[in-house]
Each structure stands twice: as structure tokens, then as C-alpha cells.
């Protein structure tokens, strides 16, 4: 292809990948709100355009290395802030994940959100969300990335609180917004610090070791930690992880999008994006590894006791994100990004499958779903089985490959603690995933619902044509995702070539293929233990349906209350914010500001009162004063 043509073409494709969702958002908000079908059509068309452009970009990504197109946006002194696109393997890979998942979720939502009064609004927000995330993945500078980062945060706030008439939904939206904002403050400070020290925020420059070498190692560590603060908030890492389970208040497709490709993936993506910069500081990398590990284990334990199926998947997301951060923190760029992509596929599938039951049964409780005959829905059942197996790392599925990659990276660390933690995670993950699957697949007894009711709920009855249409709208994305989940793992080598091989070796460098043979067997052992325990407690014919962790009351309380993290925050809020800061500001307000104004007024009044003594109201005194002054003036002029 002729290079000039190719460049124009690439720029055009990048524009058509990012702009249409924003346009569709604007058009829906301004014109199309009264027409739900038109809104949905617009939104889906826009995101389809993005998918097509992303595929084209991926196909025509030449061998000549990363393209970047930058126009100047702001100039202040010697600082130039560019705006444009950076097209390299990382961003293109993320772009296509986001576009595909967003498209599938939007198609699925046609069924899930059918008849919702806010249908147009829902699609407007979905467009905004997709547009923000697509643009984020193509951002060439930290400033532009930060702008879209915040837009992603905003649109997830809007979607989590989508059913705003529910108080818990608005609360959850607020919590998500505020908690991620805490991290974003760190990120912003980090960006400013980098800007002050390097005078440049281009991602390509940041990732250049010779540029970063201008900063002292301590400063690099500090900057990396500050930027990681933003990742902690966005990707729900410890200690800011409690907003994500609460975000389940939104519609299920939103959870699917939020948990797989967009909101929480943005954090891990930022880490991958700045991976060479972050890995300049070994101290910071150890912190990342620690936080990832803590998050992974904590969230996995929370997932083993919850009965709300969406919450189980939410904890699982937190846990898997921790696992991704572990992989990146262990120094393996490819392991992190590969698990990010497989996780996006199987987590989206898990949520969308659960969404089918939630849509038909209107309950989130997995035992309720089981009791009402959840397994009649064949496609979601198979999809969930596949996704859960992939999540657990069962061999032929994609999750197995990415998990092995991360475990392999962990095994290369000198400290065996990380690998142990990873293996503990490998035990918990199949346990909680198959706890949910077995509960629904092998219900203890199907509730004695009347057959007519069952007929109504069953998707395969011809009597309910409209419902069946809805069902298929929801089922097709499930099938596509299931194919991705099954197939993605087999492209590991080519993906690795694409992402870390080739001309962009500066991003990470290829991992030496030093497979630990024993690792495979050990991790399989842990997975099988988890699976077996889940089968023993939930799967077999006369299983107790009460997990071992639910039997031990203190453990159950600890896990169900999220290790008392929320209570801790509430206490912290009470002690630090309400008692200390609020008290101080109240006292400042009452005593310093109000008191100051009062004192000023009192002094003025008192001074007036003192001066008013001069005013006796007697004409004689005034006359005397006038003459005294005149006499003094006369003396003054006489002697001067």
C-alpha cells in the first residue's frame, strides 16, 4: 500500500472508530429521545462502524511501527499539549476488544432493556461510554487519556445509576463516582508531576527509557505510584474495591460492559499502556504486585459466600483484575494484556448469561433462579458453563492459556509468596464459579410452579412469540461471545507476536519461553480441588448446598461483609471526615469567620458609641470647638 494513502486512510479509520459513538450520543440526546427504536438503531450503527474501523485498522497496521497523528490542542509556554491518535498494537488490540464487546452488549440490550421507559437514554449513555473508552484506548498523550478516563467514569456513573428511581442505584452510582475520583486525584497529581519534570506527556516519550532517565529513580517511583493510584480506583483494586460490587445496581448489560471491556479495564489498560514507564521502578512494581495479590485473594474470598449471582461475578471481576495487575506487576506485559482480553470475553459472557435469568425471573439470587428452573434456558446455561470453566482455567478454553501465562510470570519471581497466592486464587476461582454453575444446573428441587407459569417462562414455547424474539436477540451475542471464549486461547502465539514481537519491542520485550513443566500440573491440581469441592457441596445429588465457608460463621460474616472494608470506610468517614475535618471547618466557620465578623461589627459599634460622647447635642459646645480649632489654626499660621 502507498504510504501516504495508508496514512490518510489510517487517520480516517481512527476517526471513524472513535467519533461515531459520540455523534450518536449527541443525536440521541438532542433529537432521537422520543424514538427508542431509532436511538437503539443509531447507537448500534455507530458502534458497528467502530468495529469495522477497528478491524480495518488492525488489518492495515503496517510493519512500519506505531503511527501517531497529533494536532496541537493547547500551547502554554514551552508545553505543547497534543490531541490525536496513537495507533500501536496495544491500543489497536484494546480498541477491538472494546468495540466488539460494546457492540455485543448493545445488541443484547435490545432484548434486556425492551420496554424500559429510559430506553433512548440508555442507548445514549451506552454510546457515550463506548465512545469514551474507544478514544481512551487511542490516546497518544496522558492529558487526552485523562480526559477520556474521566468521561468513562462519568458515563459509568450515569449507567450504574440508570434506574435512578431506586435509591440504592443512585447511591451505588455515587459511590462508584466518588471512590474512583479518589484514585483519579492521585492520577492527576502523577500526570502533573511528570509534566513538571519532563515537560512532555506523550505516551511514547514516557515509555522511552532515555527520556525517563532524566528523572531521578525516587521520583519515577513516586510518579508511578501516583499513576497507579488512578488504576487502583478505576480497576477496583484494594483498598478502593468496594464500589464495584455495588455497581451491580445498574442494568446487567451495563455490568457486563463495565466489568469486561470498559470501565475497570481502563485501569489495567493504563498500566499496560505505561508498562515500560512503570517497570522503570522495581520498588513500585513490588507495590503493584502486592496490591494485585491482596485484591485477588480478598475478592475471591468475598465471592465464595454471596448468593447474589451478579455480586459473585463482580467479586470475581475484582479478583481477576487483581490477577491481571499481578501479571503486569510481575513484569510480564503480555500476560497482563492477554488475561485482560480473555477476561473481557468470559466475564462479558458470564454477565450476559446471568442477565437472561435476571430478565426472566427478576431475581438475582442464584438459588431462587435454580429453584425456578433456570436450567431450562439452554444457551445461557451452556454459555455460563463455558465462561465459568474459562474463568477457572480449565484447559482448552481461553482463560486457561492466559492464567498459565500469568502463573508462569509469577513463578519467575524470586519470592515464592506470589506464586502461592496465585495458586490460592486458582483454587478459589473454580470453587465460587462452579458453586454458582452447579447451583443452577442441579437445583435441589424445582419449585412447584404451575405448569402454565412454566410455559410462560420457558423460552421455547411457541405461544410466546415476542418473548422468543427477545430471547434470541439476547442469545446471539451469547453465542458469539462463547465462540470467542473457546477460541481466543488458541491465538496466544500470534497475539504475542502482534503485541510484543515485531517492531514495537520497546513495549515490554518478548518473554523468554521458559515453561515450568511442574507448574501446569500444580495449578491443575488446585483447579481440580476447587472444582471438586464445588461439586461435593453443590453439584452431587444430595449435596448440602451450604459451602464450607458458609458453615463457619465468623468466616462467613467476614467474607459476606467484605472483610468489613465498607464498615472501615464508614468509620474512617465518620472519624476523619465528619469528626475531624467537618468539626474543624464548623469551628472555623463559627468561631473564626463568624466570630471575626461579629468582632469587627462590635468594634465598629463600640467605637461609634465612644465617639458619640463627643456629640453632646449642645450648640455651645460646638461653637466652643469651632473657635478652639480656629484659634489653634491661627497660632499655627502665626508661628509657622
Amino acid at each position: 500500500m502507498v504510504p501516504t494513502f495508508s496514512h490518510d486512510f489510517m487517520l480516517f479509520a481512527a476517526l471513524s472508530a472513535t467519533l461515531p459513538p459520540f455523534l450518536s450520543f449527541a443525536v440521541i440526546v438532542v433529537f432521537a429521545r422520543p424514538y427508542p427504536r431509532l436511538s437503539a438503531g443509531l447507537s448500534i450503527t455507530a458502534v458497528s462502524l467502530s468495529v469495522v474501523s477497528a478491524v480495518l485498522l488492525l488489518l492495515f497496521q503496517g510493519p512500519e511501527g506505531p503511527h501517531s497523528y497529533m494536532g496541537t490542542w493547547l500551547v502554554s509556554g514551552s508545553t505543547r499539549i497534543p490531541f490525536g491518535f496513537l495507533l500501536d498494537p496495544t491500543s489497536l488490540f484494546m480498541l477491538i476488544i472494546v468495540a466488539v464487546v460494546a457492540l455485543l452488549v448493545q445488541v443484547y440490550s435490545l432484548g434486556y432493556m425492551e420496554g424500559d421507559p429510559g430506553f433512548s437514554r440508555y442507548y445514549a449513555f451506552q454510546s457515550l461510554f463506548a465512545g469514551a473508552m474507544l478514544s481512551l484506548s487511542l490516546s497518544p498523550s496522558m492529558v487526552q487519556l485523562y480526559v477520556f478516563w474521566e468521561l468513562v467514569g462519568l458515563s459509568s456513573y450515569l449507567l450504574i445509576g440508570f434506574w435512578y428511581e431506586k435509591f440504592s442505584a443512585t447511591e451505588a452510582g455515587k459511590k462508584a463516582f466518588v471512590m474512583t475520583r479518589l484514585g483519579d486525584i492521585c492520577l492527576f497529581l502523577g500526570i502533573l508531576l511528570v509534566l513538571l519534570n519532563l515537560g512532555n506527556l506523550n505516551i511514547q516519550d514516557l515509555n522511552d527509557p532515555s527520556v525517563v532517565g532524566r528523572m531521578s529513580p525516587g521520583l519515577v517511583t513516586f510518579c508511578a505510584l501516583l499513576i497507579f493510584g488512578g488504576i487502583v480506583g478505576k480497576s477496583a483494586q484494594f483498598p478502593l474495591l468496594t464500589w464495584l460490587p455495588d455497581a451491580m445496581e445498574g442494568p446487567t448489560p451495563v455490568s457486563a460492559l463495565l466489568h469486561s471491556a470498559t470501565m475497570v479495564a481502563a485501569g489495567a489498560f493504563l498500566f499496560a499502556r505505561l508498562f515500560p514507564f512503570m517497570s522503570q521502578s522495581p520498588a513500585a512494581m513490588t507495590v503493584f504486585l502486592t496490591i494485585g495479590t491482596v485484591t485477588m485473594v480478598l475478592a475471591a474470598t468475598m465471592a465464595v459466600v454471596d448468593r447474589d449471582i451478579k455480586k459473585v461475578w463482580a467479586y470475581s471481576t475484582v479478583s481477576q483484575l487483581g490477577f491481571i495487575i499481578m501479571g503486569l506487576g510481575a513484569g510480564s506485559y503480555f500476560a497482563g494484556i492477554f488475561h485482560l482480553s480473555t477476561h473481557a470475553a468470559f466475564k462479558a459472557l458470564l454477565f450476559l448469561c446471568s442477565g437472561v435469568w435476571i430478565h426472566y425471573y427478576e431475581t438475582n439470587d442464584m438459588f431462587q433462579i435454580a429453584a425456578r428452573g433456570g436450567r431450562q434456558f439452554k444457551i445461557p446455561m451452556i454459555g455460563m458453563l463455558l465462561a465459568a470453566a474459562s474463568l477457572s482455567g480449565v484447559p482448552p478454553l481461553s482463560g486457561f492459556f492466559s492464567k498459565e501465562t500469568i502463573l508462569d510470570a509469577l513463578a519467575k519471581c524470586h519470592n515464592p509468596l506470589w506464586l502461592t497466592a496465585g495458586l490460592v486464587g486458582a483454587f478459589f476461582t473454580p470453587y465460587y464459579a462452579f458453586r454458582a454453575v452447579f447451583s443452577i444446573l442441579f437445583p435441589r428441587k424445582i419449585e412447584d410452579v404451575r405448569s402454565a407459569d412454566k410455559q410462560h417462562l420457558s423460552p421455547s414455547t411457541a405461544a410466546n412469540q415476542q418473548h422468543e424474539g427477545t430471547y434470541w436477540v439476547m442469545a446471539v451475542p451469547l453465542l458469539i461471545l462463547a465462540c470467542i471464549v473457546v477460541g481466543l486461547g488458541f491465538f496466544k502465539t500470534s497475539l504475542e507476536d502482534f503485541l510484543v514481537g515485531g517492531p514495537t519491542t520497546s513495549v515490554g520485550g518478548p518473554i523468554p519461553q521458559r515453561q515450568h513443566e511442574w507448574l501446569f500440573y500444580v495449578s491443575m491440581l488446585f483447579v481440580l480441588c476447587g472444582l471438586g469441592l464445588a461439586w461435593f457441596e453443590f453439584g452431587r445429588r444430595d449435596a448440602s448446598r451450604i459451602g464450607i465457608f458458609e458453615k463457619i460463621a465468623p468466616l462467613k460474616a467476614l467474607f459476606a461483609n467484605r472483610w468489613y472494608l465498607d464498615d472501615f470506610y464508614r468509620l474512617l468517614l465518620k472519624v476523619v471526615v465528619y469528626r475531624t475535618f467537618a468539626n474543624l471547618t464548623i469551628r472555623n466557620d463559627h468561631q473564626v469567620i463568624d466570630g471575626g465578623i461579629d468582632a469587627f461589627c462590635r468594634v465598629t459599634v463600640d467605637a461609634g458609641r465612644v465617639l458619640s460622647r463627643l456629640q453632646s447635642g449642645l450648640v455651645r459646645h460646638n461653637v466652643l470647638l469651632v473657635f478652639m480649632v480656629l484659634a489653634l489654626l491661627a497660632l499655627w499660621f502665626y508661628f509657622l
Binding site: 458619640s612 456629640q615 453632646s616 447635642g617 449642645l618 450648640v619 455651645r620 461653637v623 466652643l624 473657635f627
Partner: protein, 101 residues
């Protein structure tokens, strides 16, 4: 000039201060008015003496104006005093203190 100029000025000053003391010390409004007249006359004497001293006619001319102004002032002042007396029932200047805080 038989009488020295300075003596006349001292006389004028004495009369002026007598009038001033009358204005300040007396409480009756009419006495205040009389005090002002006395002060004006003191000033008039100083003008006459200065006119004689420098052989200028303007000094005496000013005195005519002063006498005219004094006459006008007495008539207007008395009218105000009568008005004030009717309103407050007293010609005592110290009772007019309603503007005091």
C-alpha cells in the same frame, strides 16, 4: 491717629472674646444672639481701625455691610428663636438635643 493702632486691636479682641464667652456660656438663645452681635461689633472695630491705619476707605465700607448683615441676622435669628420656642416651649439651647444619639 491719637490712639495707637495696637490698642484699638486689643479693644476689638476683648469685645470679640466677650461676645464669644456670651455665646458659649449663656444658655438663653436670645443671649446667644446678642453675643453674636457683640462679636460682630468687635470685628467691625478692627475693620475701622485698619481702614484708618492704611488710609483705605474699604474698611469703613465693610463695616456698613457688617451692620447690615447684623440687622438681617437679628431679624432672622429672632424669628428662628420664636419658631423654636413655639415648638419646644423653651428658649434654652440645651433642650434642643433631639439630634443627639
Amino acid at each position: 491717629m491719637i490712639v495707637p493702632y495696637s490698642h484699638v486691636l486689643i479693644l476689638a479682641a476683648v469685645i470679640f472674646f466677650l461676645g464669644l464667652v456670651c455665646v458659649i456660656a449663656r444658655r438663653n438663645l436670645i443671649m446667644t444672639l446678642i453675643g453674636i452681635e457683640v462679636m460682630m461689633n468687635g470685628a467691625a472695630i478692627a475693620f475701622i481701625a485698619s481702614g484708618l491705619r492704611w488710609h483705605q476707605l474699604e474698611g469703613q465700607a465693610f463695616v456698613l455691610f457688617i451692620i447690615g448683615v447684623a440687622a438681617v441676622e437679628v431679624s432672622v435669628g429672632l424669628a428662628i428663636i420664636i419658631g423654636a420656642y413655639r415648638r419646644s416651649g423653651s428658649a434654652d439651647a440645651d433642650t434642643y438635643n433631639s439630634l443627639k444619639w
